[in-house]
Subunit: 334 residues, 2 copies
């Protein structure tokens, strides 16, 4: 079982996957994506993966056989394991617990060459419905405090397989960055009695200079303090704290804006590696007043060096206003 | 002038270097180190850099001419600029200020091929004396709240030039990660009336299983909650909050342990890219009771993906106990 360890100074948790007995020579950064002879995520190779947890599939097709449009499987090399108790322990100044959790892979399409560059909004809707369904199912497990849905696209963004997929990790603690965001939003709420994200969205819509796309329910914009060139956030216009509460018509609106926004990023940056992460409230916590769920998309086009690691203070060579101009106008030359 | 912007939720600051008017095509991650025909850091090319701020040089040689062993120059492309006032401003929900600070480059050796793989401890001592001298000089400037000394070694760790060098950035704010570390240490101190780092060092020395090297004044160890394989910290055994207060004999001890430790990392991981960062107390703040300066060395041998970015929760495939065994025993086979 993986072990969770906590840094006694910063309260940062780490998952130790020490059971794989890696050697120093296993840690060579590889720049080229791994070439697999036979992709385990392609239709026909379902027996290469663990048994599926759910799928969207054509009528009269069987689980773990071809015919699916979206397929969810447990990660074959899970960061956290679904079975077991937390068993919190101390060791002098240190704290640890068992690595209990869930780690699932959402295969976004049967087509190996697919991706956000060519998804229909119907396909994105199916993927989003899948996220929501898995989110709701796992959030019923009382051992889990947080559910993180994210995508690593491209080798430089951490993807180890080319076939389009995203991931979900349910954790037994509230991760540090999430906690910071919740506490920042709570502090603002106590001071103003308003949601900080609602205030941001109002200001962005009225200023207009960082908006990328907008529809009835959602807005996409470059955040004022963008850490990375072309960092982009998507948020619901109405105040909602939990991604899991999204309804069917909102999913269609989210699919529309994700398609439009990510296509613009892919076009402007010539198919960059990117991550996106759904930021939502913790399982079973009431953050209704002050938190506002959203998606953060981070093109991975710059390197993170010692300064950023040591300080959490970012250097960005592209202002969000200028990035917005490149994204909304393909003919903008700067 | 660069602009500092603050995220209203997480209180994270970002430096916007928007004056260089970069284009989207400028943001392509390059994997190969840049080849320069003529290295601006090599002796004989002193006129390619800004005028030097200090140097260790042979008698009867002139500033900005060859004959130096260590040379400090302002960064030609500074993240922050030394001249100007902070001019804090608000814009609705957002806060910003001018990018005032200092950004210096410490050229560690006249020899382009040098590095921690072959430095003598005398050369490391000279580099450390330089860090201390620049630290003390800049900490007298009342506009600066923090001075960050760090090294990016290798292209994958963010170095843009091969010639061995480290950097120093003086910032007008206390960066977020530093603040977190200070607050964590302060909380522990209020509870226990002891320094958390002193407790960690005591426990590490008594357990022994994560220790890499030790001398009279310093200890090098793999931290209990290592974020990265072979992450290594070096700390003074005696409680001291500020790197700038180090004395001459301690510098010799630090040079000894840095040489031994980094050589072990370079050998075990076959010359990995790495960063190191000096964690010290802020300028002019009294953290005497609860903070303990130290150096964090991070081999950059794994990729940071969406999960880590979204959560601040790290996945590590190498336990610090096992990493220590590989580092202290070159014949350990795992």
């Amino acid at each position: 079982m993986p072990q969770l360890r906590k840094d006694p100074v910063t309260k940062r948790w780490v998952i130790l996957l020490h059971e794989q007995k890696k050697l120093p020579a296993d840690f060579k950064i590889e720049h080229a994506p791994k070439q697999t002879n036979k992709c385990p995520f392609c239709p026909g190779n379902e027996n290469m993966t663990p048994v599926e947890l759910m799928s969207y599939r054509s009528e009269n097709t069987l689980p773990n056989e071809p015919g699916w449009q979206v397929r969810v499987i447990p990660n074959r090399f899970p960061a956290l394991q679904i079975e077991g108790d937390l068993d919190r322990m101390g060791l002098g100044v240190y704290d640890m617990m068992n690595g209990v959790g869930a780690h699932e892979v959402i295969i976004e399409s049967p087509n190996h060459e697919d991706g956000f560059h060519n998804y229909s909004s119907e396909q994105i809707s199916r993927v989003l419905h899948t996220y929501v369904e898995r989110y709701r199912d796992l959030s019923r497990d009382r051992r889990f405090r947080y559910i993180l849905v994210f995508k690593n696209n491209g080798s430089a963004a951490g993807a180890s397989l080319d076939h389009p997929h995203s991931q979900l990790i349910a954790t037994p603690i509230i991760p540090k960055r999430v906690m910071e965001e919740l506490e920042g939003a709570k502090t603002y709420y106590y001071y103003k009695e308003r949601c900080v994200f609602c205030d941001i969205i109002r200001q962005e819509l009225s200023q207009g200079e960082r908006i990328i796309h907008e529809n009835e329910s959602f807005v996409a914009f470059e955040p004022f303090a963008s850490r990375f060139p072309f960092e982009t956030w998507i948020a619901p216009k109405d105040h909602k704290d939990c991604f899991g509460d999204i309804d069917k018509s909102e999913i269609d609106g989210l699919a529309d804006i994700m398609q439009a926004t990510i296509k613009k990023l892919i076009k402007t940056l010539d198919n960059p590696p990117f991550n996106f992460i759904i930021h939502t409230s913790p399982c079973g916590e009431h953050c209704t007043d002050y938190f506002h769920w959203h998606i953060e998309i981070m093109p991975r086009v710059t390197k993170i060096a010692g300064f950023e690691w040591g300080s959490g203070f970012y250097l960005n060579h592209m202002s969000p206003e200028r990035a917005a101009r490149f994204l909304i106008n393909p003919n903008y030359k700067g």
